[in-house]
C-alpha cells in the first residue's frame, strides 16, 4: 500500500507538473559541490493533521493544492514516500520529527522529548544563541517541544517556543476595548482532545504576572505592539494564519537560522466535517506558498534557506474497517503512516521526484548535514538527494 501511494504521487506529478528526474535520483552526485552559502538557514513546515492523497496529490485532490503544485514542486525535490513508523499522535509525532528518534511518551502529556531535539544539536554544536532557533507551534500541547530533558542538552540549549494563540489570548485578556468575538476564530485549538483549548483567560499554568511579562518580552522581540498585534490578528482567518503571521515577524526581526512552523488547521478533520478538512488543506497550501515567498523576498533568507514541508503523518484510508476514513489517524494502516516531503532551496534539484521510501526520522540527520551539526542520538539517515 505504501509503495502504491508513492507510485500514485509520482504518476500524478509526472503528468501534471512534468517532473522529469523521477527514478534517476538514486545515483545523485552533489549538485553544488556542497558549497552552501555562509550562514545557511532552514525553515521546516509540518502539518499537524496529515492530509491524504485523495485530497491532495491524487487527480481528484489537485484542486486543493494549487500553490504546492504550481509554484513549489517545480522549484524543489519531492519525496513521494515518507514513512512514519512511530506513534500517530500529533505532539509525539512532531517531537519525533524534531528529535530524529521515535518518541514514546503519552501524546497528551505535557512532557519534553526524551531525545535531544534538532534545536539543541544546532545550538550546542554551532554555539548559536537562543534567538537563532524558534518554533511556532499550534497549541498548548506543544509547549515542551523546544528541548529535551536529556543530560547534556535541555532547555538551556533548546529553541524558543511561540504559541501564537496563547499569546493572543493573553494579549486579549489585558486589553480594554476589544471584542472577544473578533478573535475567537483564531483560538481554535487541539482537535484530538478538547482539553488543550486556549482560552481568553490565558494559557494553562501561567500566573498573571509572569504571563504579562512573557507577552511583553515576546512583543518586544517581535517589535510588535500589542495594538498592532491584536489589530492585525482581527484580519486573519484562522489559527494557522496567525502562526504564519508570527513566523514572518520572527523572520523580519530576528531572522533565525532554524525556524520550525507547525500548522494545525487541517486537524479539524477530527470533527468529522469533510468540508472543513478541505478548507484546512487549501489554507495550508496557500500558507506554504506565502512562507516560501517570504523567504524569497527577504534578503536575510533569499538564496541561503532550505525549506522542508511535510505532514507529520497521514490519515486513515476510506477502506480501513477499523477507522472512519479521513476523520482520524487511529488504524496505523499504510495510508496513515505514509506521507510525503517537499524540499526547496539552494542546491536542491528542482522539479525532481524521489521514489524510494524514506523515514520520517531522516529529517534531522538531513538538517544536520545541511547546517553542519551532529545529531548524535538521531536514528535516521541524511537524504542524499538534497545534500
Amino acid at each position: 500500500m505504501a509503495a502504491k501511494q508513492g507510485w500514485d504521487r509520482r504518476q500524478f506529478l509526472r503528468t501534471t507538473v512534468g517532473a522529469a528526474a523521477a527514478g534517476r535520483l538514486c545515483g545523485f552526485t552533489p549538485l553544488v559541490a556542497q558549497q552552501l552559502p555562509k550562514g545557511h538557514k532552514a525553515v521546516v513546515v509540518t502539518f499537524g493533521g496529515g492530509a491524504r492523497d485523495e485530497e491532495t496529490f491524487a487527480p481528484e485532490g489537485q484542486e486543493n493544492i494549487p500553490h504546492m503544485l504550481g509554484e513549489l514542486i517545480p522549484q524543489g525535490t519531492f519525496f513521494t514516500q515518507v514513512i512514519n513508523h512511530g506513534i500517530l499522535g500529533h505532539y509525539v509525532a512532531t517531537a519525533s520529527l524534531a528529535t530524529g528518534a521515535y518518541e514514546t511518551f503519552n501524546n497528551f502529556a505535557l512532557t519534553p522529548p526524551a531525545n535531544p531535539t534538532v534545536f539543541e544539536y544546532f545550538r550546542k554544536d554551532l554555539k548559536r544563541p537562543a534567538n537563532d532557533a524558534w518554533i511556532v507551534a499550534p497549541s498548548n500541547g506543544f509547549n515542551r517541544i523546544g528541548a529535551s530533558d536529556r543530560s547534556g542538552y535541555g532547555p538551556s540549549l533548546g529553541a524558543e517556543v511561540l504559541l501564537p494563540k496563547q499569546l493572543l489570548a493573553a494579549a486579549m485578556a489585558g486589553k480594554a476595548g476589544t471584542r472577544d468575538e473578533d478573535y475567537l476564530h483564531l483560538l481554535r485549538d487541539n482537535y484530538e482532545t478538547p482539553l488543550y483549548t486556549s482560552s481568553l483567560a490565558g494559557g494553562q499554568g501561567s500566573g498573571g504576572g509572569s504571563q504579562d511579562a512573557e507577552i511583553e518580552k515576546v512583543a518586544g522581540i517581535l517589535k510588535l505592539s500589542l495594538d498592532d498585534f491584536t489589530a492585525h490578528a482581527r484580519s486573519l482567518a484562522s489559527p494557522d494564519e496567525l502562526s504564519v503571521f508570527i513566523a514572518r515577524q520572527l523572520m523580519k526581526q530576528l531572522a533565525p537560522s532554524l525556524l520550525w512552523i507547525t500548522l494545525h488547521d487541517i486537524d479539524i478533520a477530527h470533527s468529522g466535517a469533510y468540508s472543513l478538512y478541505l478548507d484546512g488543506i487549501r489554507r495550508s497550501d496557500r500558507l506554504c506558498g506565502e512562507i516560501w515567498k517570504a523567504i524569497e523576498s527577504d534578503p536575510e533568507y533569499k538564496g541561503r534557506t532550505t525549506m522542508f514541508i511535510l505532514p507529520d503523518f497521514g490519515r486513515d484510508s476510506d477502506i480501513s474497517p477499523g477507522g472512519n476514513g479521513f476523520q482520524h489517524h487511529r488504524t496505523g494502516d499504510a495510508l496513515s503512516r505514509t506521507t510525503w516531503m517537499m524540499v526547496l532551496g539552494p542546491g536542491v534539484r528542482q522539479n525532481a521526484v524521489v521514489d524510494r521510501a524514506v523515514d520520517s526520522l531522516d529529517l534531522v540527520p538531513t538538517l544536520g548535514s545541511l547546517l553542519s551539526f551532529s545529531p548524535t542520538f538521531a536514528k535516521g539517515s541524511p537524504l542524499r538527494e538534497v545534500l
Partner: protein, 402 residues
C-alpha cells in the same frame, strides 16, 4: 489477574444476561490471551443492551471458538499471545472495566511499537470469525437511501463524484415530495418484514414520523447533547483530568446521566444505549449534525446490520471555536453548502459500509440531492459509471431499485 484465573464470581458485577453469557462460556474465555479477551468482554459486558444483530454476532463468535480443541484455540490465539504486555496491564481490572483497559493497552502497543502486530493479529482473527461463523444473508436485499443537501438552493458543487463509477447518475429527478416518496416504501418494507431494529431512519434535523422505522434524530437529542457538553465542560474546567480521564468518564456514562430515560420497554433501553454511544464514542457528533448522521449511519450498519436504512442530512452549524461549540453556545448560523460537501462524503462512506455486510452484492443504494434533480443509484441491475437523463420522480427511481 490473568484470563486463566477467571471464575464465575469474576462476573458478579455484570448485568444479568451478560453475566449468564460469560459464565456459560467461561472455559473458552479462560483460554483467550489478555491481549484479546478484554476486547471481547467490552462487547459482552453490554450484552443486555446489545442490538439483536450484535447478540447474534457475539454468540456466533463464542460458538465458533468453543468448537475448537484447546490446541486449535491456542494456535488461533498465538499471534495475540505473542504480544508483550506488562504487569500493570495484568493487574488492571480488565474484567469490570474493559474499556479503560483497552485505552491502556492501546497506549502500550503504540509505545512499544507493537501496534502493527496487533492489527495483523486482529485482521487475521476477524477474517477467521467471518469465514467460520458468517452472519446469514438478509432475507431481502438491503436498501440504504441517503438524502443530502437540505437547504442548498444553488451550488457549483458537483455531487456524488466518488460514487459515480459504481452506479447510474440521474440528473432529471423530479424533486417534489421526494422525502415522502422515500419514507413510504421504507415503512412498507418495515411492515412486510417486521423485526426489531431492522429498519431505521436517522435524521440530522427533526424527527420525521414514520411508523415501523427505528428513528434517531439530531434535534430530538438536543437535551442529551447539551447535558453531555456540560459534563465535558465540567471535566475541562476542573483542570485535573487528562484526555484519558475524559474518555473514561464518557465510557462509563449511562443514558439517564444525560436525560435519556427509558420506559418499561426493553427496546427503549436498547435504543437509548445506542444513542448514548453515538454521542460518547463519536468524535464531533455532539457539535455537527452532519458528523452525527454519518457516524450514526456507520454504527447502525455495523451494529444493527439493518435491512432498511434512510439517512437524511440537515445543515450543520458554522464552525466556531472548539471552546464555543463544546460549551453549547448558540450556532453562529448554518452552513448548508459546507454541509452538502460533508454529506456527499458521508454518503460515500455509507455505501462503503454497506459493502461490508452480508448480501452486499445484492444491496440497493440511492443518494439524492434533496430538492434537486440529481441522484445516483447502485443496484445489481443498473449500469455502473453511466448517466441517465430520463425524467422520473422518486417513486419511479426507487422502482428501478426494486
Amino acid at each position: 489477574m490473568l484470563p486463566a484465573q477467571l471464575i464465575p464470581e469474576s462476573f458478579a458485577a455484570y448485568p444479568p444476561e451478560a453475566r449468564a453469557f460469560a459464565t456459560e462460556h467461561l472455559a473458552t474465555l479462560r483460554q483467550m490471551p489478555l491481549a484479546l479477551l478484554p476486547s471481547f468482554l467490552n462487547e459482552a459486558i453490554g450484552y443486555d443492551w446489545k442490538l439483536p444483530a450484535e447478540r447474534a454476532q457475539i454468540a456466533r463468535e463464542m460458538q465458533c471458538l468453543s468448537a475448537l480443541t484447546s490446541e486449535q484455540l491456542a494456535s488461533r490465539m498465538a499471534s495475540f499471545a505473542a504480544l508483550r504486555l506488562n504487569a500493570e496491564l495484568e493487574s488492571a481490572d480488565w474484567v469490570n472495566v474493559p474499556a479503560a483497559f483497552l485505552e491502556q493497552l492501546t497506549a502500550w502497543l503504540w509505545s512499544t511499537h507493537q501496534m502493527d502486530s496487533f492489527h495483523a493479529a486482529a485482521d487475521s482473527y476477524t477474517k477467521f470469525i467471518a469465514d467460520a461463523a458468517p452472519m446469514p444473508p438478509p432475507a431481502t436485499p438491503r436498501l440504504a437511501v441517503v438524502i443530502v443537501g437540505k437547504g442548498v438552493d444553488e451550488t457549483s458543487f458537483s455531487p456524488f463524484r466518488k460514487l459515480r463509477p459504481y452506479g447510474t447518475f440521474f440528473n432529471r429527478v423530479k424533486p417534489e415530495n421526494g422525502v415522502e416518496m422515500i419514507l413510504a416504501p421504507a415503512a412498507a418494507r418495515a411492515r412486510a418484514a417486521e423485526q426489531p431494529f431492522a429498519h431505521w431512519c436517522i435524521d440530522g434535523g427533526a424527527l420525521l414520523p414514520t411508523a415501523g422505522l427505528t428513528q434517531v434524530s439530531y434535534d430530538a437529542l438536543s437535551g442529551a447533547r447539551t447535558a453531555l457538553l456540560e459534563r465535558t465542560q465540567q471535566t475541562i474546567a476542573s483542570g485535573s483530568s487528562g484526555p484519558e480521564a475524559l474518555r473514561s468518564m464518557l465510557a462509563q456514562m449511562k443514558p439517564e446521566d444525560i436525560g435519556l430515560t427509558s420506559g418499561a420497554s426493553s427496546s427503549d433501553a436498547i435504543l437509548n444505549r445506542f444513542q448514548l454511544s453515538l454521542l460518547t464514542q463519536g468524535s464531533g457528533t455532539q457539535i455537527f449534525s452532519t458528523t452525527f448522521v454519518q457516524w450514526a449511519g456507520r454504527e447502525c450498519l455495523r451494529r444493527a446490520q439493518p435491512a432498511t436504512l434512510v439517512l437524511r442530512y440537515a445543515p450543520r452549524q458554522r464552525q466556531q471555536t472548539m471552546n464555543a461549540m463544546l460549551s453549547g453556545a448558540p450556532p453562529g448560523g448554518l452552513d448548508p453548502e459546507g454541509s452538502l460537501v460533508d454529506a456527499d462524503m458521508g454518503a460515500y462512506y455509507t455505501w462503503l459500509n454497506l459493502q461490508r455486510l452480508t448480501g452486499a452484492g445484492d444491496a440497493r443504494f440511492l443518494v439524492w440531492f434533496e430538492g434537486h434533480g440529481e441522484a445516483l443509484a447502485i443496484a445489481p441491475g443498473l449500469p455502473r459509471g453511466s448517466n441517465a437523463d430520463s425524467a422520473l420522480d422518486m417513486k419511479g427511481l426507487l422502482a428501478l431499485l426494486a
